[in-house]
């Protein structure tokens, strides 16, 4: 593969670089590659960048850049030599989870639905290294993928009005956790032992977009 292609859209002072319109890990890695490359270059015209599944949004300070062409050119340059940087391995973050019981009220129903023991669900959940697709929804909400097909479940039909911060959930091919107390419909199977989100920390989230994460079962 020689470089990669993307669609660039300018809207007011936002630039959207779209690689794909799916929830797909390989495509999502390109988003993080571009994000990382732009951050390394420390351009004065970049106010902030926001990664999502298939799109990177760049907030631009228009007073600090000549025109849209200059931005397009810079992005094209990065994408041209992209495949070198995409293989850069990130270290794996290990997060301890208290599974089941009061911390994971949906672990039992999920196990029943899948016809397995709770321990088996945990074993499958902790067996994979996940990639952080993005953060969003509420502060510190981390979207990870992809979940083993054997434990993929639908969201709750009626979302809970309050899911405690740190709750680890399942939704389709994604797993993830809540940064703050909020309403939510993911199936909660456990809770992080450590505080993963704190606005007074720099950066506020332990897990950043593109990071690799493995869950580890914590001693109760």
């Amino acid at each position: 593969m020689n470089g990669m292609s993307a669609r660039i859209t300018h809207l007011l002072n936002y630039v959207y670089v779209t690689f794909c319109e799916d929830v797909e890990i390989e495509c999502n890695k390109k988003v993080h590659m571009l994000d990382k490359s732009l951050q390394k270059r420390k351009h004065e015209w970049i106010i902030e960048t926001v990664p999502s599944y298939g799109t990177l949004a760049i907030v631009v300070d228009k007073d600090k850049v000549k025109d849209e062409g200059e931005i397009d050119e810079e992005i094209a340059n990065i994408l041209k030599k992209a495949d070198v940087e995409i293989n850069e391995e990130r270290e794996i973050l290990e997060l301890e989870v208290l599974y089941g019981g009061e911390y994971g009220p949906d672990l039992k129903p999920v196990a029943e639905e899948k016809g397995m023991e709770e321990d088996e669900v945990v074993k499958i959940h902790t067996s994979k290294v996940y990639t952080c697709y993005m953060l969003g929804f509420t502060p510190g909400f981390v979207y990870l993928g992809d979940v083993d097909e054997r434990i993929r479940v639908e969201r709750l039909k009626i979302p809970r009005t309050l899911v405690p911060a740190g709750s680890v959930g399942l939704a389709g091919k994604q797993t993830g956790f809540y940064g703050i107390n909020s309403p939510g419909g993911w199936r909660i199977i456990g809770r992080l032992k450590e505080k993963a989100f704190d606005v007074n920390r720099h950066p506020p989230s332990l897990v950043k977009p593109g990071d690799r994460v493995r869950f580890v079962r914590a001693e109760q």
């Binding site: 859209t9 809207l11 007011l12 936002y14 959207y16 779209t18 319109e21 799916d22 929830v23 106010i47 902030e48 960048t49 926001v50 990664p51 999502s52 599944y53 298939g54 799109t55 949004a57 907030v59 993005m134 953060l135 969003g136 929804f137 509420t138 502060p139 510190g140 909400f141 940064g179 703050i180 909020s182 989100f197 606005v199 007074n200 950066p203 506020p204 989230s205 950043k208 977009p209």
Partner: protein, 286 residues
């Protein structure tokens, strides 16, 4: 608390339905799901700061829907901007868009707005607010920043900062328009444009600092609805839901969204829309 330069300049008496400390908003948090927050109507907010000679990003009180009063415990220079309401200092009517000297012990009262929805009260030096990610804006859903991460309550003591700027200036007239100018969004097509521009929308009561909800007169033809994969969204972006209800991302709105983005308005236009407030009828010019 060493950053405070006094023990409080004012005490909240009537807090109104949703009053908070806001500044220009925070930058750099969106990648972690943290919205920008900040003043909803930047034009009125900047104007308030300019009237008292503040730095442009000094925190001010944002009062939504009026009915707000505070008692000053020290001499202060203040300005009230934004929605047209009646303002009283003790029993005397005071003018909006003016720098006003307030004596110790005076009570400032803002009525429910007659035109517009949101007021800003600036004090010389700026009001103190909790600083998070380099901003003193309040973000209530996250319970952090500004006025202790919550709406102001009776008996809250407000303090001031030293964020003065260069000189004083007067704002332009406060005028609102029900014709909202928007730029084409990513998912706008001819069908949606036609549907959107042939009708008026009503701002729903469920509108708040997170999102402004607008209900259409005509249902959205199902052929115009499309599921999309979540993308980043920003304040001023217009999202089209399945039913045809529009959700305009506001300053406390989510950083990502899974609805078609059919338009976007700049900060001044967003300020105009939020000032129109619930119940107002608007039309879009794309």
């Amino acid at each position: 608390m060493s950053e405070l330069n006094n023990e409080g300049v004012a005490e909240v008496e009537l807090p109104g339905i949703f009053s908070t400390i806001q500044d220009k908003g925070r930058v750099g948090g969106r990648r972690y799901g943290i919205p920008s927050s900040g003043a909803l109507d930047v034009r009125s907010y900047f104007a308030a700061n300019k009237l008292v000679g503040n730095a442009i990003n000094a925190p001010a009180i944002e009062v939504i829907a009026g009915n707000f009063s505070i008692i000053f415990k020290n001499y202060a220079e203040i300005a009230i901007t934004g929605a047209r309401c009646k303002a009283y200092l003790d029993n005397n009517k005071v003018e909006l868009d003016k720098c006003i000297d307030v004596d110790k012990g005076s009570r400032l009262l803002l009525s429910i707005p007659e035109y517009g929805f949101i007021n800003y009260i600036a004090v010389r030096g700026g009001f103190w607010g909790e600083e998070v990610l380099s901003s003193r804006s309040t973000y209530v859903p996250g319970r952090f920043g500004g006025s202790w991460g919550r709406a102001l309550m009776s008996n809250d003591i407000l303090s001031t900062l030293d964020m003065t700027g260069n000189g004083y200036s007067k704002p332009s007239n406060f005028e609102l328009s029900s014709r909202i100018k928007v730029k084409e969004g990513f998912h706008l097509n001819e069908g949606i444009r036609e549907w959107m521009t042939r009708q008026k929308f009503i701002i729903e009561a469920e509108s708040d600092r997170m999102g402004y909800r607008l209900s259409p007169q005509f249902e959205l033809p199902s052929s115009l609805h499309k599921e999309i994969v979540t993308i980043p969204v920003f304040p001023g972006m217009i999202q089209l839901t399945k039913s045809g209800e529009l959700v305009v991302v506001n300053k406390d709105g989510q950083t990502t969204g899974g609805y078609q983005v059919i338009g976007v308005m700049n900060e001044e236009e967003l300020g105009n829309l939020v000032q129109l407030g619930p119940g107002a009828e608007v039309e879009f010019i794309i």
